[in-house]
Symmetry: C2
Subunit: 420 residues, 2 copies
C-alpha cells in the first residue's frame, strides 16, 4: 500500500459544500434542458463551453491546464516534488442526450473543490495533484463509451477512436479539430502524464445507497460490459399490396428476437443488466414494410463467464427468430469486470472513518473512467447516493450533504496519497 494508514485526526481542510452545490447548478447551464436536465454531447461546442468554465475556476486557484490529442483535459496543481508521478482525480463533463446535472460533473467538481480547499488552506503536497476531465465517457454519439480514458490508458488506439462514426454518419476525426480549437488558451500535452494513483467520485446511479440510508459507498469493483449490434435484413415492400405471407419484414423478426431476448434475460434476475437502447428502422416510412432493422444490446454482469454465456445466448436466439430474414450480431465493444485494489479501498474506508461518515462496500453497475485507469495505476472509487437511483435522466438528483460528504473523503484521501 502506497499510502500511510491514517492516524491522528483528519489532515484535510474542510471543503465548502455550498460552493460545490452552486457550481453544479452553474455548470448545468451549459446544455440545460427544460425539465432540469442537461444535453451536453461529447466534443460539442457546449462541451467546450463547460470546460472553459472549469479552466477558469481552476486558474483562480492556480491550476495549470493542458489537453491531449483525444481531448482529455488536465488541470495540474504542482507539489514539492513535481518529478514524482502525480495523484489524479476527476471524471467527465459530457452527458447523455437527456442526462442529469450530476453524472460525471460531480466527480470533476468534487476534485476541483478538494483542490480549492487545499489552495485556501495553503497546503502544498509532495506530489503534483491532477484534476482530469476524461473525454466522451458516455459514448452516446461516438461509440465506444469511456473513449478518452481508454485512449489515455492505451486500451484504445487513437486512430481507432478518431474513426468512430456517429449515427448520422459523421466521423470523429472531422468533428474533433473544431473542439480542440475551442480551447485556444490550453496548451497541447501529447505524452500521458505518469500517475501514482487515480480516484473517482461519482453518484451511484442506482438505488442501493439510498435504500440503505447511507451517504457513502466504497466501490469494490465494476461489472463487465458487452455492447452488441443486431442487424436484421429483409426486403422493403409496399404496406398495402404485399400479402403478409410473402413479406420479409425485418421489423417483424426484430420484434420476435427482442421478445425472446427479454424473456431469456428476465429469467436470470437482477444480477444481469440487459438493455435494448437504440433502434434504427429503415426506411422508417409508415406505409413501407421495413427492409432493415438494427438495434443495440447493452449487457452487464459482475462475472465474465456470465457475459460470455449471455452473448452466446443472444447469437442463438437471434438466429432462431430470423424467419425469412438474415441476421448478423456484431460486438461493438466490451470490457471485463474488475476489482479495485484492497489497499485503496481500505484508505477510502479509513478516510470516511476519520470524518465519521457511515458507508458500505458495493459493486458499480455502471462503467466509469476508473475502470480504464485501473489498468495503468492504483485506482479507487467513491459513490454518493442519487435520488431513487435515477440517472441518465433529466430527473437525476442528489443532496448537497451527500455530495459534500463524498468530496470531504476524496480530499482526505488525495492529500494522503499525494504526501505518500
Amino acid at each position: 500500500m502506497m499510502a500511510s494508514a491514517p492516524h491522528g485526526g483528519p489532515r484535510a481542510p474542510r471543503i465548502d459544500g455550498e460552493r460545490l452545490w452552486r457550481r453544479h447548478l452553474e455548470l448545468a447551464r451549459h446544455g440545460a434542458l427544460s425539465a432540469g436536465g442537461v444535453d451536453r454531447p461529447a466534443f460539442s461546442a457546449i462541451d467546450a463551453q463547460a470546460r472553459r468554465q472549469l479552466v477558469d475556476w481552476g486558474r483562480a486557484i492556480g491550476l495549470v491546464p493542458s489537453m491531449d490529442a483525444i481531448g482529455n483535459l488536465f488541470l495540474r496543481r504542482t507539489g514539492r516534488r513535481p518529478e514524482l508521478p502525480a495523484v489524479a482525480t476527476g471524471s467527465h463533463l459530457d452527458t447523455q442526450p437527456t442526462g442529469g446535472k450530476f453524472d460525471g460533473a460531480y466527480g470533476v467538481l468534487a476534485g476541483l473543490e478538494a483542490l480549492a480547499s487545499l489552495h485556501e488552506a495553503g497546503l502544498q503536497t509532495e506530489r503534483d495533484l491532477l484534476l482530469v476531465v476524461w473525454a466522451n465517457e458516455e459514448g452516446s454519439h461516438f461509440a465506444p463509451t469511456t473513449m478518452g480514458s481508454a485512449v489515455f490508458s492505451g486500451q484504445l488506439p487513437l486512430a481507432e477512436a478518431l474513426a468512430a462514426q456517429a449515427p448520422d454518419g459523421g466521423r470523429l476525426e472531422d468533428a474533433l479539430p473544431a473542439f480542440l480549437a475551442a480551447h485556444p488558451e490550453v496548451p497541447r500535452q501529447d505524452t500521458a502524464p505518469p500517475l501514482h494513483a487515480f480516484l473517482e467520485a461519482h453518484i451511484e446511479q442506482g438505488p442501493v445507497l439510498e435504500a440503505a440510508g447511507l451517504p457513502l459507498g466504497i466501490v469494490t469493483g465494476i461489472q463487465g460490459l458487452r455492447w452488441l449490434e443486431v442487424d436484421v435484413r429483409g426486403q422493403e415492400a409496399h404496406a398495402g399490396t404485399t400479402p403478409g405471407s410473402v413479406r420479409r419484414d425485418a421489423l417483424r423478426q426484430a420484434v420476435q428476437m427482442a421478445r425472446a431476448l427479454f424473456a431469456h434475460f428476465d429469467a436470470l434476475g437482477d444480477s444481469v443488466r440487459f438493455t435494448l437502447g437504440r433502434w434504427r428502422v429503415e426506411p422508417g416510412s409508415p406505409n413501407t414494410v421495413p427492409g432493415r432493422v438494427r438495434f443495440t444490446i447493452d449487457l452487464r454482469h459482475p462475472r465474465e463467464a456470465a457475459l460470455a454465456d449471455g452473448e452466446e445466448a443472444i447469437r442463438q436466439l437471434c438466429e432462431t427468430h430470423a424467419g425469412p430474414c438474415t441476421v448478423a450480431v456484431e460486438r461493438l465493444s466490451g470490457s471485463a469486470p474488475i476489482v479495485f485494489p484492497e489497499g485503496i479501498r481500505d484508505l477510502l474506508d479509513q478516510c470516511a472513518d476519520l470524518w465519521a461518515f457511515p458507508r458500505m462496500a458495493l459493486v458499480s453497475g455502471a462503467t466509469h473512467d476508473a475502470k480504464l485507469l485501473h489498468g495503468v495505476t492504483t485506482t479507487g472509487m467513491l459513490f454518493v447516493p442519487c435520488e431513487k437511483g435515477i440517472s441518465h435522466n433529466q430527473l437525476e438528483n442528489a443532496t448537497p450533504e451527500h455530495l459534500a460528504a463524498g468530496t470531504q473523503v476524496l480530499a482526505e484521501a488525495l492529500l494522503r496519497l499525494a504526501d505518500a
Copy 2:
C-alpha cells in the same frame, strides 16, 4: 354512363411505347439512388426539378400549366368546348425514401404520352384534357398520404395540410413556399377546375397480375386504410445500474405489444394488411433504458367492418401489454374502402377489348389519388404488372410492353370520355 359504348374499331392513335419508356428513365434521374431506385421527397427541390421537366415536355405539345395552393400541378390541353368540365388523368411524382421508378411516375407519363399521341395525330377533343400531378401522395415525410388530392377533393382542409409536421419537427407551411417559388413560370390556379371524369394508370405494386400472366388489370375498388400511432411512455434509466425489476422500459413494452399485434393479424390471413413501418425510440442511446417509443400502424382491408374490428383489437392489445408503462393509441388518418362506378369499369374493359389486351378485374391493395377523386367525379383505374409485385423498393420494375399496353387503353378511354 357518360361515355358512348365503344363501337367500330379503335379511335385513339397508337402511342409511342419507346418514348414512354425512355421518359421513365429520364425522370428517374431526379433523385436517383445507387441501387436503381429514386428518393424524391414531396415538396423537395428534387420534386420541383422533376415537375419542371414534365412542364417542359408538356409545353412541347401545347399543354398549359397551372398550380394550386397545395402544389397540385395541372397541364391542360384545350378542347373545342373549354366551358365543359374537363377529363383528367394523372398520378404523382413524389416517392418513398427508397422508392422505384414507376410508382406514380407511370400514371403521369402514361397521361403525357396519351396527350402527346393526340397532339401528333392532330386530334382535338370536345372537352379539355387535364394531366394532373397530385402533390405528396406518399405522405412519408409530411403525413397524411394523398395530401394533394385530399385537399383538391375537399376531404382535407388546406390549413390542416399546411400544419403537417415532419418527423424532424419541420412544418409544411414553412417548407411549401420555397417549393411553389421553384415553379416561377407556372401561374397559380386557386379554384379547382371542374372535372367530368378522372382516370389513373398505375403499376399494381402487388403480385396478382404477374401471377395471372396478364398485361392489364381493371381496378374494381380500393381497400380501406387506417393509420395509427402507438405512443408508449416509461422512464429513462441507466442501463448499467437499474435492475430490470424496477425499470419502466418503454421499448420492452412496445416489443410485447408489437409481438401480440403481429400474432393477432397473422392469424387473420392475407386479406388484412398490417404494417409497423416507423419506430422512434427515445433517447436512442445504447446505454439508456428507453423512456419513450412511438410506432406507426398501417392497417388495410376491403371491408370497413374489418378495419373497425382491427382498430379495436389494436387498442385492447396495446393496453394489455403496457406493463409498468402508459400507452396512447392515436388515429393519424383513415379512409373507407371504395368501389369504382360500373360504367367506367365497363368503358376501360371495352377499350382494352378494342386493342385486344387480355385483362382481369382486381381490388387495389394500395391507396391512390383516384380514391380521393372518386368523391368528386366519375373515377376509374388501370393497373399494369410490376416485377414480383415489388414496390416501395429500389428494385421496383415493369416491362415497356406492359406500360405501353396500359397507356394505349388509357388514351382510348380518355378520347372517348372527352368526346362524350
